[in-house]
C-alpha cells in the first residue's frame, strides 16, 4: 500500500484552472494533429511539466492521450478516404522498434552525461532534423505556391520514382496511397526513424509524414492521415510500457483527450477544404518555428555541461521562457492557419452553392 501511495503522490492535484488549461492545450494540439498527422505533443509535455507534473509522468500521460486521439483522427480521415491502413501499420510496427531503440540511446546518454547532456542531445536533434526536413518541406510548399500549380496533383519526387522502380522479390507490398508496389525494406528504416524521433523529441511525424511524401511518393493528405495510424500503433505500445511502470496519470491523459478530440475532428474536417500543399505549409511553418525555440536552449545546456561559460540566472530564465513562448506560438500559428482554411473553404463552398442555385 505504501508503494501505491508513493506512486499516487507523484500525481498532482487538479483544480479547475489546471483542468481548463489542459483542455485548451489539448484542443490546440489536437487541431494541429488532425490536420498534419502529428504535432502538439511537444507542447503538451512541457505544458504538463509547467503544472508540476514530473517529466516521466508527463511523457507517459501524453502518450496515453496520443493513441486514442490518433485512433479517432484516423477513423475520421479514413471516412474521407485519406488513410492507407496497411502503410500505417507496417510503418507503425517498425516505428515501435525505433521508439524502444531511441529510448535506449536516451538512457545511455543520460547515464553518461546527466540531465544536461540528455537535454542537449534532444535540443540538437530538434534543431538539426527540423532545419533539414522543415526547411525542405517549407521550400517545396513555397515552390508549389510560386509556380501556381497548387490545384494540380502532386508530382512524385525523383527519389520516390526510384524507390517505386526498385523490385526486391519477396519484399514487395502494394500500398494504395502510392498506387504502386514498393519494397518494405524502404518502409522499415523510415518507420524506425519515425519511432526514434518520437522517442527523442515526441513528434515522430516530423520524419514520418515528409518521408512518406518525398521518399515513398504518397500524396500529402494520405501521408498525414496515415501518420495517425503510425501514432496509434506507437502510442499504444508506448502507453502499455509506461502504464506497466505505473507512470500514467489517467486523469491528465483523459482531460487532454477531452480537448484534443474536439480539435482532431476539426483538424480532420479542415483537410477536406484545403489544397494538399497547405499540409506542407502548416508542417513546415511549425517545424521551423519550433527549431528556433529549441535552438535558444542549446547555450543553456552547453553551459550546464561546462562547454561554455556559465550563464547568469536571469539569462537562463529569459531563454527558457522565450523558448517555451515560441513553442506555444508555433502551435497557435498552425492552429490559426487550419481554422482560417476551414473558414475560407466553407465560405467558398457557400458562395458556390448559391451560384449553382441561381444558375439552375
Amino acid at each position: 500500500m505504501h508503494d501505491i501511495a508513493k506512486e499516487a503522490a507523484n500525481f498532482i492535484n487538479l483544480d479547475v484552472i489546471n483542468i481548463i488549461y489542459l483542455f485548451v492545450v489539448g484542443f490546440v494540439g489536437g487541431l494541429v494533429s488532425g490536420f498534419i498527422g502529428s504535432g502538439g505533443a511537444f507542447v503538451l509535455t512541457p505544458g504538463m511539466m509547467s503544472l508540476g507534473v514530473p517529466g516521466l509522468v508527463a511523457v507517459a500521460s501524453n502518450m496515453c492521450h496520443k493513441f486514442p486521439k490518433a485512433l479517432v483522427g484516423a477513423i475520421k480521415r479514413a471516412k474521407y478516404g485519406q488513410v492507407d491502413i496497411k502503410l500505417g501499420i507496417i510503418m507503425g510496427i517498425s516505428a515501435e522498434a525505433g521508439v524502444l531503440y531511441g529510448a535506449h540511446i536516451q538512457q545511455n546518454i543520460k547515464s553518461a552525461f546527466g540531465d544536461a547532456g540528455s537535454n542537449l542531445y534532444v535540443s540538437v536533434s530538434f534543431v538539426v532534423i527540423l532545419a533539414i526536413v522543415g526547411g525542405f518541406v517549407l521550400r517545396d510548399a513555397w515552390k508549389t505556391y510560386r509556380s501556381g500549380s497548387t490545384h494540380e496533383e502532386e508530382k512524385l519526387t525523383r527519389l520516390a520514382k526510384w524507390v517505386q522502380s526498385i523490385n526486391i522479390p519477396g519484399t514487395m507490398v502494394y500500398f494504395k496511397s502510392l498506387n504502386a508496389k514498393i519494397s518494405v525494406l524502404f518502409t522499415i528504416p523510415l518507420g524506425f526513424a519515425t519511432g526514434m524521433l518520437a522517442a527523442t523529441i515526441a513528434v515522430g511525424g516530423f520524419i514520418g509524414v515528409p518521408s512518406m511524401i518525398y521518399v515513398l511518393g504518397a500524396p500529402s493528405l494520405m501521408a498525414s492521415a496515415s501518420e495517425l495510424v503510425i501514432a496509434f500503433v506507437m502510442g499504444l505500445g508506448g502507453s502499455l510500457k509506461y502504464a506497466m511502470g505505473g507512470l500514467v496519470d489517467i486523469r491528465l491523459a483523459m482531460i487532454i483527450l477531452a480537448g484534443s478530440l474536439f480539435g482532431i475532428q476539426l483538424g480532420a474536417i479542415g483537410t477536406t477544404y484545403v489544397k494538399p500543399f497547405m499540409i506542407k505549409v502548416v508542417m513546415g511553418v511549425i517545424m521551423v518555428i519550433v527549431l528556433f525555440s529549441r535552438a535558444l536552449m542549446v547555450p543553456v545546456y552547453l553551459a550546464q555541461l561546462g562547454v561554455i561559460e556559465t550563464l547568469g540566472e536571469t539569462t537562463v530564465k529569459v531563454l527558457k521562457n522565450t523558448s517555451f513562448a515560441i513553442m506555444i506560438m508555433a502551435v497557435l500559428i498552425g492552429a490559426f492557419i487550419v481554422l482560417r482554411a476551414i473558414w475560407q473553404g466553407r465560405r467558398a463552398e457557400k458562395v458556390a452553392t448559391k451560384e449553382a442555385i441561381s444558375h439552375s
Partner: protein, 84 residues
C-alpha cells in the same frame, strides 16, 4: 434550398452522447484518488488505463464528431452527385 439545410442535424444524439461523456468525466474526477492508486500499480493493472483510454475515445470521440456536425461544421461536400 440546398440539401444541407434540410438535412437533419444530430442534436438529440449529440446531447445524449454528451451526457454519457460528461458522466464518464465526472466519475473519473470524483473517484480520482482510488483510480490513481489502482491504475498506477503497474504490471497487469496497466490494462486499466489502456481500457479507459479506449472507452473515453469511443464515447467522447463520438460526441465531439456529432458536436461539430450539429453546429453544421462538416467535411467539404464532394462535387460528384451521381452514383448514389
Amino acid at each position: 434550398m440546398s440539401q444541407d439545410k434540410t438535412k437533419k442535424r444530430p442534436v438529440v444524439k449529440t446531447l445524449l452522447i454528451g451526457m454519457i461523456s460528461i458522466a464518464l468525466y465526472t466519475a473519473l474526477l470524483l473517484n480520482q484518488d482510488i483510480i490513481n492508486s489502482t491504475f498506477a500499480r503497474g504490471g497487469l493493472y496497466a490494462l486499466l488505463p489502456i481500457a479507459t483510454a479506449f472507452i473515453f475515445s469511443f464515447i467522447h470521440g463520438s460526441f465531439t464528431g456529432n458536436f461539430w456536425t450539429s453546429l453544421g461544421i462538416e467535411a467539404k461536400k464532394r462535387k460528384k452527385t451521381e452514383g448514389k
